[in-house]
């Protein structure tokens, strides 16, 4: 599932497309990850230098997600979002630490810890976790009905979100 675009050893930065690709707009994180991978491969094939990055697609949260981030210096999480009163397809980018106020309505950790708690745990246990974690989100319309189709506005946001991710990667996710 993981794809190291630029080589064999562990990359510095990981881009994680989060969500469930079978649940309609919830799959947008994976689709953005696909798009980012395509952009980076095209750049590499054209002989342009590309950042040291690994692309991953996951449907997990909490402790499992924290474990998957171990060993990277920077992480970019791409996910569907259901912020109140925001237009469908809106792309937002922020530091993970800024997400607290937006956590409303999202279940992340019914079975273990929240990612925030998991990261604190990992750091206290001495795990090498990213110093910088960003989130790029796409406002979703529907994430509770099984479908492999995205809403048109969400699908249209994929290139925008992918560009935001590539910019973060290029900037070292700082």
């Amino acid at each position: 599932m993981a794809d190291h675009v630029s080589g064999d050893r562990q990359a510095r930065t990981i881009v994680v497309g989060l969500g469930n690709p079978l649940l309609g707009d919830d799959g947008v994180g994976w689709r953005v990850a696909d798009e980012v991978e395509g952009l980076l491969r095209a750049a590499r094939d054209a002989g342009r230098p590309i950042p040291d990055v690994e692309i991953e697609r996951l449907g997990v949260g909490g402790l499992r997600l924290m474990e998957c981030l171990t060993g990277y210096e920077a992480a970019i999480l791409v996910d569907a979002a259901e912020f109140p009163d925001r237009p469908i397809g809106e792309v937002r980018s922020c530091c993970f630490d800024e997400l607290a106020e937006f956590a409303a309505g999202h279940l992340d950790s019914a079975h273990d810890a929240s990612l925030r708690t998991a990261l604190t745990l990992g750091r206290r246990l001495g795990a090498s976790l990213p110093g910088s974690i960003h989130a790029v989100t796409v406002q979703a319309r529907r994430t509770d009905e099984f479908s492999e189709e995205l809403s048109p506005a969400v699908a249209a946001a994929i290139p925008v979100a992918a560009e935001a991710v590539v910019e973060l990667v290029a900037a070292g996710a700082r």
Partner: protein
């Protein structure tokens, strides 16, 4: 109780939402726990080849992909009328046992632990795994992470992928394991046995050694006398991967055991006007409402239920832990002859007994002389028709039922997932928790959210979409309504 009529168009939906209805005297009349339900899975699957189901259903959510993977593979075996080779069954069960070690460990330390180790009245901010480790020592956190890492490694070795296993298929497995992998898994199993014993020791020391906690476990507020469900092997011992479904009455009488394919003869679903969720109940007993007792068809399917329906555990250390469990909490048998524990908070202890069994079972399976045999699949040749596959998911009995055409293309799919079994018991437990804190319309705010949360958390409910959206803390909202259905108060956390 005053009858409360709720317009069906106002059906309650929402994440972690609890509605408490009061009667005219201000006492709790009813309480309902809303679980977000994902829709359209059957429609999504129909028209696909049945062989896809083990890898498709394990993507329903990120919580128990291994359980769906196994149930789907077993249903696929049945659809194709094929009995996998012994080694394939051993490998599936080995993967599944490793998954259980991981899942039960996580639940105890990250979810159940905070209620006991940190305490039910501690601030919400401390009631998490960090609070647990602050009490029991940070080095325990290292063991938890190690247990999880090793479990993931075993799943990857046998299942081919680290998160969504892919190797169980109709007729067996697509790959076996090498001697080197076998030895590594045996080592992990032996470590897991020690870790499970260590965890039981923590429970002993912190919960059983504390009179207040013990009193809480035994209190009426967390006690229900319902029917119990669980898979058992031919010796009536707990089994996670295979067996007959056993039903035990609240009076300790075995009502019967049935083959998973007969589930529709035993289970029916009750519909309420206020929710899209359906409430399974025992058909032969009937639906009498959200009430306890032998006349009510409400049943429960959890670690505690599995222990209650079985005659014991199939491995020696777990059997000793099982006996201690019953000696401590249910020294006398019920009228039907079986010792039962009806104290729902004891589910956390039952989970640790199962953790020990899963670890011991890993070693048994990893040391079976046939585990490294290359004979892992019989390619199906029969015409596909219909099949049912059942396993015990950590959070309850999981059943997949498929019907296909002669090409193996799905024409009908029905899933009865672990948490669904417990919808009615969870509502009843939430109601009891609310009853202890609301009288004559006066709400005791202190501890209400925690007590209510504890009431459903012990069931380890699976929110199908638990990990699908943006990371955040688990929200919980409690709405209290008067006898006219009007919301009079809302309490919330992380909302």
């Amino acid at each position: 109780m005053e009858r409360i009529t709720i317009d069906p168009v106002t059906r309650l939906e929402g994440h972690g939402k609890i509605e408490i209805f009061l009667d005219p005297d201000g006492e709790v009349a009813n309480a309902y726990f809303q679980i977000p339900e994902l829709r359209g899975f059957e429609r999504f699957c129909v028209g696909r080849p049945v062989e896809e189901m083990p890898t498709l259903t394990n993507r329903i959510c990120g919580v128990c992909p291994e359980a769906h993977h196994m149930a789907a593979a077993k249903a696929g075996d049945a659809v194709y009328h094929v009995d996998p080779p012994r080694t394939a069954k051993l490998l599936r069960e080995l993967l599944y046992s490793a998954f259980y070690v991981t899942d039960h460990t996580t639940h105890f330390y990250a979810l159940g632990g905070p209620d006991f180790v940190v305490g039910p009245d501690a601030p919400a901010a401390e009631r998490n795994i960090l609070g647990v480790l602050a009490k029991v020592g940070m080095e325990v956190g290292g063991k938890v992470i190690q247990a999880r890492k090793q479990g993931h490694n075993v799943v990857e070795m046998i299942g081919g992928r680290k998160i969504h296993p892919a190797t169980a298929v109709p007729g067996g497995m697509t790959q076996g394991i090498t001697e080197e992998q076998r030895a590594e898994i045996e080592k992990i199993g032996r470590w897991s046995i020690e870790f499970a014993q260590f965890s039981l020791g923590i429970f002993d020391q912190i919960v059983l050694g504390n009179d207040a906690y013990k009193e809480m476990v035994l209190s009426d507020g967390y006690t229900h006398r319902t029917y119990y469900m669980g898979l058992v092997d031919p010796n009536k011992k707990v089994n996670f991967y295979d067996g007959q479904v056993s039903i035990m009455s609240p009076d300790g009488e075995r009502v019967g055991t049935y083959a998973p394919a007969e589930y529709r003869d035993w289970i029916a679903e009750h519909v309420e006007p206020w929710t899209y969720l359906k409430f399974p109940y025992l058909k032969k007993v009937g639906w009498k409402g959200f009430v306890d007792g032998a006349d009510s068809g409400v049943y429960c399917a959890t670690p505690l239920s599995r222990l209650n329906t079985a005659e014991g555990m199939a491995t020696p250390l777990a059997q000793a832990a099982y006996e201690r469990f019953y000696d401590t909490l249910a020294p006398k048998p019920e009228p039907g002859g079986k010792r039962l524990i009806h104290h729902r908070l004891a589910t956390h202890w039952a989970r640790l007994v199962e953790l020990l069994y899963a670890a011991e079972r890993m070693v048994e399976l990893a040391t079976d002389p046939e585990i490294t045999s290359p004979n892992v699949r019989i390619v199906p040749t029969e015409k596909p028709t219909e099949g049912v596959g059942t396993v015990e998911a950590p959070r309850g009995t999981l059943t997949h039922h498929y019907v296909t055409d002669e090409r193996g293309v799905l024409t009908s799919v029905n899933l009865l997932v672990g948490t669904t079994n417990n919808y009615a018991p969870m509502a009843m437990s939430v109601k009891k928790a609310a009853e202890s804190l609301i009288h004559k319309g006066v709400v005791v705010h202190q501890g209400l959210l925690n007590r209510v949360e504890m009431a459903f958390r012990l069931y380890d409910p699976c929110f199908g979409c638990a990990t699908h959206s943006l990371p955040g803390e688990m929200p919980l909202q409690v709405a209290i309504r008067n006898a006219d259905g009007e919301v009079i108060e809302v309490l919330s956390q992380n909302c």
